[in-house]
Symmetry: C2
Subunit: 228 residues, 2 copies
DNA sequence: CATTATATTGATGTATACAACAAATGTCAA
DNA sequence: TTGACATTTGTTGTATACATCAATATAATG
């Protein structure tokens, strides 16, 4: 490399991992694309070593598949992968609310109830709060394995937001979040857990419906089952 | 490298990953050890590239920690890690029995009931069947994320077997397995699921007690909390 | 003797050259 | 035209040299 424009403290491999992942979940790199290491080297301004490291991690997270001697394939979003992702969420998140919700101070829940009731938040901010809320319960579990698997799926879920952003479900979801937080304050953990389950199932349905609808008019690269 | 004794079809990075992992879970490399890439290169007869790849994967599975500029540390087995592992198992496995148990043919369950009733099986064989039985439900889920996370923890659990092998709980566990399989045949999924939960909790207790006992007489490198 | 500054060491991070291999392409013959 | 076969191309797999940085040892100085 000629000149490193910036010598950040982060290692290149970490940087490569984060930016590549970001490009994938934001659909800047389209699902189904096949890339080569060289392309990624150029894209990320790094040599093959950190790029390979990043790709290897992304493969373990099921975001890409390495096809030896053929290329690096960005995994498609299939109906099956939606099923998998929400299966995990439906198992993990309600359990986290039930078992670890009481580790979170009431003040935190109170802050969320306020935020979930505010209207006209910028979309970006709204989603950030949303993600944070869900993440919070997993973090509270203080369990590396829960955190690992949730990190995998949370990033995947971001990809769906590109599809369904600014939909009519946004404010319904806010209300569901509100109810969950409110019941956490009241110590109604079982109810909160059930509401979380319902909320996630609703999200899944919304995505499934959206995908089925837009799949009728062709022109999308998202669906289609995983081939080969 | 001078001479490759065998040019197996497997890639070196895959081979390095598997053998290194095997050495760790079998405690051939003791928990708490700090290694360097060079040591691993020599041990695995490979250059740094495949070794780094292997270590990177093992880090994601929480088996080792890479301390930049210091070395590769084989994570210790702490009371906290036991808690984490069994937390995952208690959530995942009973749910898998309940939701996916009916995907497994009765003949399979019947075969297991026979095997769990056989006495005087070689220890190794006994454990193999045991692992296979537990794994089966996760595999039946047909969910990549469940399989990933279970692969992580299953390997870790193997390490505990080095500690507690041939203990008095072995035949009790076999009986518990029998009851689970028998209830799966009868279609009593909820009962089977509860029995699975109980079985896992019993296993945890046995390990915890064992660890606490042997911890009194010093001489073990397994426990001790993770430092730094 | 203590303490600070400096030099050395040794570890991973990074870049890159080379090997191996599979797919694609083109050529020649039937 | 079509088939088989050789060649070329392009990709990842592997080895290794070099860069970087932190910890440690060492020496000089108050």
């Amino acid at each position: 490399m000629s000149e490193n424009e910036l010598n950040l403290s982060k290692s290149l491999k970490q940087l490569a991992y984060e930016t590549l992942k970001q490009k994938i979940v934001s659909c800047e790199i389209l699902p189904g694309s096949t890339l080569t290491e060289d392309m990624l080297c150029e894209m990320l301004n790094a040599s093959r070593t950190p790029v390979r490291d990043a790709v290897s991690r992304l493969e373990q997270e099921h975001l890409v598949s390495i096809k030896p001697k053929k290329g690096i394939r960005v995994n498609r979003v299939s109906m099956n992968s939606i099923k998998e992702l929400f299966e995990v969420r439906c198992l993990l998140e309600p359990a986290a609310v039930l078992k670890y919700g009481n580790r979170i101070p009431d003040e935190v829940y109170a802050r969320y109830t306020q935020q979930f009731r505010r209207k006209n938040l910028p979309t970006e901010e709204l989603y950030r709060v949303d993600d944070e809320f869900h993440q919070m319960f997993i973090t509270a579990s203080n369990n590396r394995y829960f955190r690992s698997v949730y990190a995998m799926i949370a990033d995947q879920v971001l990809r769906y937001r590109v599809l369904t952003a600014n939909g009519p479900r946004d404010e319904i979801a806010q209300e569901e979040h509100y109810e969950i937080a409110a019941n956490c304050i009241r110590g109604e953990w079982e109810l909160a857990s059930r509401l979380m389950l319902q909320h996630i199932e609703n999200s899944k349905l919304a995505i499934v419906h959206y995908v089925l609808d837009t799949n009728r008019n062709a022109h999308n690269v998202f669906l289609e089952e995983d081939e080969d």
